[in-house]
Homo-oligomer: 207 residues x 2
Amino acid sequence: MDEPDGAPAPARRGGNGRAGRVAYDLDAVLSVAVQAFNERGYDATSMGALAERLGTSKSAIYYHVSGKEELLRLALERALGKLERLLDEPDPAASALDRLERVLRGAVRVLVAELPFVTLLLRLRGNTEVEREALARRREFDHAVARLVEEAVADGALRSDVDARTATRLLFGMVNSLVEWYRPGGGLSADQLADAVVAMAFEGLRA
Amino acid sequence: MDEPDGAPAPARRGGNGRAGRVAYDLDAVLSVAVQAFNERGYDATSMGALAERLGTSKSAIYYHVSGKEELLRLALERALGKLERLLDEPDPAASALDRLERVLRGAVRVLVAELPFVTLLLRLRGNTEVEREALARRREFDHAVARLVEEAVADGALRSDVDARTATRLLFGMVNSLVEWYRPGGGLSADQLADAVVAMAFEGLRA
DNA sequence: AGTCCTACTTACCGATCGTTCAGTCAGGTT
DNA sequence: AACCTGACTGAACGATCGGTAAGTAGGACT
């Protein structure tokens, strides 16, 4: 673990950038940072440790971003943006249950595709303003899904003996827990995963 | 938030302790510490901030514990101990499914009863040796439950089209997510919660 | 009265934190 | 040749970190 092995190689600028030398771009810095934040925790990851992973100096990072917190902000924006877009095309003709299933499968897809970024999002504690704002946006997303569940219960499509809010939270608990164990390339595709989630959520595990 | 309002009042020693003055005991320090760790994160919680919450000085804490990490160790021990004891009385006569349901309900019960301690356990990143050891014990608990699921699938009691390992992880994801939202006294008892978990896990949400 | 113990307090330590700043150097432009 | 700019380096900043050393108030015990 002495060399920044897992890190993407510094992107030597082709024709895109104007000039310069070796050059990480912002995306490379961001993805290395997010990976480090997820492994050790945001607070426990120092800018020095980050620089070591990148193979540069601490201060080089400050050329690309204004500070540690901006790295967090950029990463959270990426995760939240993708999730929020899930709610944009609802297809009002479909039943609440169908729309719920669509959002559920979409959430699994985004989670898998943007695993490190969503992982970071789901571990926030709300210590700073940046974190609190992200948590508020996440809550808004949760509420939108909760409304879908309530609609589906009202339609008679979902059982009514389990409280809709509780059901929504258990549902999210199941989906969000993916970031703690799912790793792509482990013989389980995103679609298979979504199938398992939907099967367990709607039909249950009983044979 | 200037005064340690939420903190349990310092326990003035009655006849139990030998002598002394004002005196927090270890349990009071521990419970305040765990609450702080959960609110801000372990790494983001300084001993100074902890002392402020307790209404004492930093070094007073060092009279009760050897350091920050021992606070963590003691808290994790409490959570893990309770969880591990769940697996001790299996009643070999019962079916795997029945034993699984029992463990599931027991896990919800422990989680609710020891909410702050289990919360801390579930948020570990494995940065130090103490954390890694706790994570190993937690994994062992997970594996024991996974074996129950596999047994139940082999019995034909659980559906076999969803992989047993995946099912176990989704199950734990659902249960463990409780620490993120369940608050006692919110009109939902631990038993009702366990009912909801078991209903969704085994029968599914579909009406 | 004197001693001991408990439960602290005040003052401080070296290390590390995120951040800044002045300087450097390769290449592009003029 | 002179100058500019983008992308850094190395050293340092004040703040804060976890932890320690030394001293002490107050009750218990002899």
